[in-house]
């Protein structure tokens, strides 16, 4: 059996939405280079809808595939829907990830939430802080 599913390999080999948005409404970066994973998500938001999304990822194949899949899943969606995106949904859409790679889907969820939080902060929009996980203390990095 191959290491990754066909969907993971497709998104890794042909990642969707790679790049930057210069005038992004919100930008989120999670992970760190020491751990070997960094995800950066750029969102363009108009009327509470994510009209464009781009990502940059430093990391393994499943980290790149998770970023690609997660951006596809929120593109064109209202913020309220993007907020509901879970790491499980990303992993399922990828037709599964190996157990030791599940943290890649967690990073993807957190990167999107981090970008949304940045958008709220920039625009002075009130939000429920409990909905945004604190990545600094995730089990993956331990720091």
């Amino acid at each position: 059996m191959a290491l990754y599913s066909e969907v993971v390999m497709d998104h890794f080999m042909h990642p969707r939405n790679v790049g930057v948005i210069e005038d992004a409404s919100g930008v989120g970066t999670v992970g760190n280079a020491k751990c070997g994973d960094i995800m950066k998500i750029y969102l363009k938001i108009e009327n509470d809808v994510i009209v464009d999304v781009k990502f940059e990822t430093f990391g393994c194949g499943s980290a790149i595939a998770s970023s690609s899949m997660a951006t596809e899943m929120i593109k064109g969606k209202p913020i309220s829907e993007a907020m509901l995106l879970t790491n499980q949904a990303v992993a399922e859409a990828l037709d599964g990830l190996p157990a030791h790679k599940l943290h890649c889907s967690v990073l993807a969820e957190e990167a999107i939430k981090s970008a949304l939080k940045d958008y709220y902060d920039k625009n002075g929009i009130a939000y429920d802080k409990s909905l945004f996980p604190d990545c600094e203390h995730c089990a993956h990095c331990g720091e």
Partner: protein, 395 residues
Amino acid sequence: MQVYADNAATTKISEHALKAMMPCFETVYGNPSSLHTVGQEAKEVLEDARARVAKCLGCEAREIIFTSGGSEADNQAILSAAYYGARKGKKHIISTAFEHHAVLHTLNKLEKEGFEVTLLDVKDGHNVTAQQVQKAIREDTCLVTCMYANNEIGSILPIAEIGAVCKAAGVPFHTDAVQAAGHLHIDVKAQNIDMLSLSGHKFHGPRGVGALYVRRGIPLVNVIEGGAQERGKRAGTENLPAIVGMAAALEDACANLEENNRKVTAMRDKLIAGLSKIPHSALNGDIVNRLPGNVSFCFEGIEGEALLLLLDMKGICASSGSACTSGSLDPSHVLLAIGRVHDVAHGSLRLSVCHYNTDEEIDHILTSVPEVVQTLRNMSPVWRDLQNGDREYIL
């Protein structure tokens, strides 16, 4: 094009070794411990293989013990010297920071049992010196164990010099020669090596078999208890097909050593010269004293597992010391030991070539690696920060 460039992980068995093994399944299938003719034939084949392996190392046949591989040989050598030392009140062991886990984890176990371990620093020149060993030797040192050559970065240690230092100090010297056997000229007597581990599948022999050379007079403890095979020092019916295959492969490797090394070194140097052109990259390992087939680089701004997957898509089989390939959160202890920080250790690539590789394959690697590195850098936020000056280059 399929390019196998992971020969430090394992090698393709040679036709000669495979052919040599077949009679042990078909005709010489007896148990060497059996008294009857079929068993005694097998015993003869076993002892012939032992003599041939011994000849390749410059020792006597009775100084060779066949094991299941390099790890078992390392375990047995280290535990034996440690427990023998402890009986005389000596519980200090010297090794290096970039040993294989078969050595390091055995040393960890001994530390828990009250032994003290000094791991020599390998940052300077990505190697150790005999002077470092000499300085570390104490009254209570019972063993020096230093690998012959490093599996990840290819550094060849000054084994004869370390052997001389140990002999002068009266300290037993073990070397894990898994990457060296069949690739470098070994003479255990001239090099003052007391114990040496090797593994069959690193020089085009079969896996699941290895050997431990133990100088006469050095007492061994058993790692596997049971029957009286291997002079009572390693129980279990001998894996005769594998032992014979290993002996054939080692003989071939030693007979063709210089010719193979000329060819492999030329391919290695071409790869190193070509890959060094990739900006913000660094060669790992000793530049001069280096295994003929080892090429090890760190590329800044990318992660090794993604690099391996993309190379695999281009038919290139390689390896990396990134955390994602090790199954742990930390990158390779070898890369950290030579002073590579986590950020760049994650972006490592090891290519290990052998005489089966061709110039066309080397050219394919030289075209593919820069492309793949650039593809990954183009989607890396770390690389963007480096390029924009928001992060300082390490390499």
